[in-house]
């Protein structure tokens, strides 16, 4: 955090000054470690084992915050007797379907609800990264459940959790993670001692956590700990994601992602959502508790925002215009399709996949096989010049005279040359004022897409073709200003907020969205950002003039709420858990919730409210159900649906690991997404043979002075000067073993690539003793490429393509490699070296190791049918 989010880290330092104890878990000693109380060097890829150890410590010693756990989580809920835990089946849960590499979730359900919504096959959910939809709401689950308030029932969630993690002992943590038991216990003790009624503990991760084949389950494990300790929805608690880019949160909320529409509405699927009603019901699950009951209003209002007058209740608001998914259309599938010649044109909008995406060679070969490529950026980046200066030109794999891709480079406007909002990592929208005009031909994306759309519509005017109706009927009428006819960003923000169509009045919040065509809302979760016709994101009341919540700086979704699920900061009766930790509470005399923040609860619903039988939607949530976006109002220790690789996190080894899984017969995540394509090879891992050909673990992360693929930092003189060279950090022990010299050269080899780097021998990395062996880890920054003021080989070239099954994010925080002294070969010899490694490792390009480790028994998947998984 001190390295990659330095200014955010000031708050950790403030907390430490006030007595907070800071633990830092990282494979590499960084500035964060230097400022922490305790540093835990961990084997990369083993976080579930470490955190699972903490869960086991909590449950074995009964250190959970029992009152919170009983009232606010699903600990007491009884699970189906059909459920078989991974503990009892070598690492596979019940319901695994080897044909699709995914689970049938029927047996994971609560008792009596095995065939209810939420059950069923998850193959489609896996193909379409359906897990991403849960960023704004939980997965569906049945209404009435069996509970055991004593937590003694053998099939209640509490007992299942206890058995599941029973083997995650301090000794096992040592065997898997390479951490000494004393250090582990110091962490577990401090975490539990600093949680409860009077105190809260906070878990912070950087989104490298998501770049694993079990990334979602990493975060789930952290969330289970925080729920057990009562650290969710309370001040000083939480699971905080440190996202990596100025508006990456905004890019998910108003997604430019294949499987989502704004506000986490799913892109329709051809088989599951042929009609508007199918689509809406798949989102709202009729009869379901919670706030998704209003999904029809959000969906209809989005389509009204898209197609304006053409969208009417009679034509289902032009639902028929939406393109349909048939499977995985993610960025990695696309790149393989480019190599196979299936894609004509590609837009890159401030993105540099030639350096920033996993398997750089696949990225560059894909781009070299397009008809046309449009690159919009501030600088001439590698993804624009791969055909001229890329590493494949040096090896002869790309010959400019034979490369057909037509490339348009269009200069972009910088952040000070346009106005608009970024959404930062706490869901806070902040408006930027424009300072100057962009230079020359540089334009904003707003300009480019508005005018591109205008021109497409002009060219199609009068077209009789049905496929052109969606473009011709599009509501595409934005006011413009200035010499270049720049569209008015505030007008777009107003449409995102939503408005009443008859009067034009901006909506005050999403509760005002209607399903009858009288409102248009571009992104329902952002409704309120333009309340009263005022740009709330532009509010800048100085922090010094506000309380510590600073509610008048910018605007946070939803409803300017700064902390989600903050009803949990009060006890079931609505009283603060303690005076120190008061945040939101029930004011009996006023008959409403009040406090420091906007309450995340219906503001006049009393803690004593109990839903009438048969209630659905928000009315079905009791006055003490704080998790209002969850289908049962509870925090989920156990996820009966919505997480595709298991209801509980389970330690699997990374897709490439030198270590045999010490906990289960199953080696890796059985549901991880792999691609059989000749360009993609996977290094062998035990129990496969020849894993010793790639004996070392490498991991990558950021330097303070650079930014992702380097397009905004290797091009900037002061930053380039501060970090001028690609390098690899190795421990003194590994340097001796591999014959590497400090400040000399080394090259690293995987089944995909060989790259070179300067050697930095440092005790920031330590060899770890794991299951009786010594494991060496190397660390690399991933910022370098062949353009800019400072250049170097790209670390991402070393990675292959293996994805997390929930969100289709690649495993690019860990791989295996070999390291050798000296510079890498060039020209044809480079390919020969990689070929030789592949031959020795028995790697056939395009072949991937079996999803289920040989010898692990697979039970019957269960009935399943074609249920829609987590909907």
């Amino acid at each position: 955090m001190a390295e990659a989010h330095p200014v955010g880290f000031q708050w950790v330092m403030e907390a430490r000054k006030r007595g907070a104890k800071v633990f830092h878990v990282d494979p590499r000693f960084t500035r964060t470690s230097a400022s922490a109380d305790v540093y835990l060097p961990i084997r990369a890829g083993t976080d579930i084992a470490l955190l699972g150890g903490v869960i086991n410590y909590i449950l074995t010693n009964e250190l959970d915050f029992r009152e919170y756990v009983l009232a606010y989580t699903n600990a007491a809920t009884i699970v189906s007797e059909d459920f078989v835990d991974a503990e009892d089946a070598e690492g596979l849960f019940s319901g695994f379907d080897p044909a699709t590499g995914s689970y049938v979730q029927d047996s994971w359900q609560y008792a009596g609800h095995e065939r209810d919504s939420g059950s069923g096959h998850t193959a489609t959910a896996r193909e379409t990264a359906a897990g991403l939809r849960h960023e704004s709401h939980g997965a569906p689950i049945a209404g009435q459940v069996e509970r055991d308030e004593t937590l003694q029932h053998p099939r209640c969630v509490y007992q299942i959790l206890k058995r599941h993690f029973a083997r995650y002992t301090p000794e096992m943590v040592q065997r898997v993670c390479g951490l000494p038991p004393e250090k582990f216990l110091e962490l577990a003790r401090a975490w539990t001692q600093n949680s409860g009624r009077e105190r809260t503990g906070c878990l912070i991760y950087s989104v490298g956590w998501t770049q694993h084949s079990v990334g979602v389950q990493y975060i789930r494990t952290g969330a289970i700990i925080q729920l057990l300790l009562g650290n969710v929805g309370r001040p000083g608690g939480g699971v905080l994601a440190l996202r990596g880019h100025a508006s990456i949160q905004g890019s998910t909320d108003i997604p430019t992602l294949f499987n989502l529409l704004p506000g986490y509405l799913p892109m329709p699927h051809h088989a599951q959502h042929p009609t508007f009603d199918d689509w809406v019901n798949a989102i709202r699950h009729p009869g379901q508790k919670g706030f998704w009951g209003n999904a029809r209003a959000y969906a209809a209002s989005l389509l009204k925002a898209y197609w304006g007058e053409a969208a009417t209740p009679d034509n289902d608001f032009c639902y028929g215009y939406l393109p349909r998914l048939t499977g995985d259309h993610g960025t990695y599938q696309q790149v393989l399709d480019m190599i196979d010649g299936k894609i004509r044109g590609y837009f890159l909008l401030g993105q540099n996949p030639a350096v920033g995406s996993a398997h750089g060679r696949a990225q560059r070969l894909g781009m070299a096989n397009l008809e046309w490529l449009v690159v919009r950026d501030l600088f001439m980046i590698e993804s624009a010049t791969f055909w001229q200066r890329g590493p494949e030109v040096a090896t002869g794999e790309i010959v400019p005279q034979e490369c057909r891709t037509e490339v348009f480079f269009l200069p972009a406007a910088s952040h000070v040359e346009k106005e608009g909002t970024f959404t930062q990592t706490q869901r806070l929208l902040q408006w930027r004022e424009k300072a100057v005009d962009p230079p020359g031909d540089a334009r904003s994306e707003l300009w480019f897409f508005y005018h591109l759309g205008r021109r497409l519509r002009e060219k199609l005017a009068g077209s009789p073709l049905p496929r052109d109706r969606a473009l011709l009927d599009l509501a595409w009428d934005y006011p413009t200003h200035g010499p270049h006819d720049e569209p008015d960003a505030e007008a777009v923000l107003r449409e995102i907020n939503g408005y009443d169509i008859a009067t034009g009045r901006p909506l005050a919040g999403f509760a005002e969205a209607r399903d009858d065509g009288t409102t248009a809302v571009g992104c329902w979760i952002y409704a309120g950002v333009y309340a009263d016709g005022v740009n709330q994101a532009a509010r800048r009341r100085p922090g010094g003039e506000q309380d510590w919540v600073a509610a008048e700086w910018g605007w946070a979704w939803p409803a300017n709420r700064r902390m989600l699920y903050n009803r949990a900061s009060a006890d079931p009766q609505g009283r603060p858990w303690s005076d120190r930790k008061r945040y939101v509470w029930w004011d009996e005399s006023a008959g409403r919730w009040t406090g420091h923040d906007v309450p995340d609860f219906e503001v006049t619903k009393a803690p004593s409210y109990r839903p009438p039988p048969g209630a659905s939607g928000p009315a079905a949530l009791a006055g003490d159900d704080p998790f209002v976006m969850q289908a049962d109002g509870k925090g989920w220790l156990y996820a009966p649906s919505g997480v595709l690789d298991g209801p509980l996190p389970t330690h699997y080894e990374p897709a490439e690991s030198p270590v045999r899984n010490p906990l289960y017969g199953q080696q890796g995540n059985p549901t991880r997404k792999t691609y059989r394509h000749p360009v993609n090879s996977v290094n062998p891992s035990p129990p496969q043979e020849h894993s010793q050909v790639f004996p070392y673990v490498f991991t990558v992360s950021r330097l303070t002075e650079h930014h992702t693929a380097g397009g905004m930092s290797r091009t900037v003189a002061p930053l380039a000067e501060l970090q001028p060279e690609m390098f690899v950090e190795v421990s003194p022990e590994l340097a001796t073993l591999a014959g590497l010299n400090h400040l000399g050269w080394a090259h690293l080899v995987s089944a995909r690539a060989v790259i070179e780097a300067k050697v930095l021998v440092t005790d920031r990395l330590v060899p770890l003793r794991v299951d009786g062996r010594v494991i060496h880890q190397l660390w690399l920054p991933y910022h370098f490429g062949f353009e800019g003021l400072v250049t170097g080989d790209s670390a991402n070239d070393l990675f292959g393509i293996t994805l997390d099954p929930n969100v289709l994010i690649q495993e690019s925080k860990i791989g295996t490699c070999d390291v050798r002294p000296g510079r890498r070969p060039t020209g044809a010899a480079l390919g020969e070296l990689v070929d030789d490694y592949r031959r020795r490792a028995g790697v056939t390009p395009g072949a991937v190791p079996p999803a289920v480790t040989p010898g692990v028994p697979i039970g019957p998947p269960g009935s399943g049918g074609d249920g829609e998984g987590n909907g």
Binding site: V7, L242, H270, R324, R344, L456, V716, L789
Partner: protein
């Protein structure tokens, strides 16, 4: 200048005898540095902005003279950053004023070996034509069972996460209307 003036003007003398024993202020000042004023003072206007790098979202004040950014500093009013910027945020002025920035359209024709110039309006028109051609060649109306698909898989897009919300909104809206669904973002990566 007499010897006395030289002595009195000598920074060490001033440091030892004046009110600045550490030599960090008045004692270290020369006639030239005494006459300097901060760029921020001469600015015509100040825009309130946000750092374009990581997701902490530090506040920035962008100082402008004419149509030139002359300085970017942390915004002390921000309750998030309290005026601080890290090395990247502090380098924002160098980012936006970098001489390496491309300011004209560049074009590489198929099988070309060099970049060429191209007019922005022509480029936009050529891109629009290519989109329409790709749609026409790869359009899918319905699946094998006659259910609607309404799409093209011939077009892809990958966006960075320094795009504004308003930009992402228009990008998704336009691509969706043209039937292009292979739209992705750094958020997947």
């Amino acid at each position: 200048m007499g010897l006395r003036d030289v002595l009195l003007g000598w920074p060490v003398y001033r440091q030892l005898t004046g009110a600045d024993p550490l030599g960090r202020g008045a004692a270290a000042q020369s006639a030239r540095s005494a006459a300097l004023t901060p760029r921020t003072e001469a600015a015509d206007r100040v825009a309130r902005s946000v750092c374009p790098y990581c997701a902490v979202g530090c506040g920035q004040r962008v100082f402008v003279s004419g149509n030139q950014v002359t300085q970017i500093e942390g915004d002390p009013d921000s309750p998030i950053s309290r005026g601080r910027l890290c090395p990247k945020g502090s380098a924002s002025k160098s980012l936006v004023t970098s001489p390496l920035r491309q300011t004209t359209v560049r074009y590489r024709r198929p099988y070309g070996t060099e970049w060429e110039d191209l007019d922005l309006d022509t480029a936009l028109d050529m891109i629009a034509d290519r989109i329409l051609a790709a749609r026409a060649e790869t359009w899918e109306d319905v699946d094998a069972e006659g259910r609607p698909l309404n799409r093209t898989l011939g077009i892809s897009s990958l966006g960075g996460a320094t795009l504004d919300n308003e930009e992402n909104y228009l990008i998704k809206k336009l691509f969706t209307a043209m039937g292009a669904l292979q739209i992705e973002n750094q958020a997947r990566i």
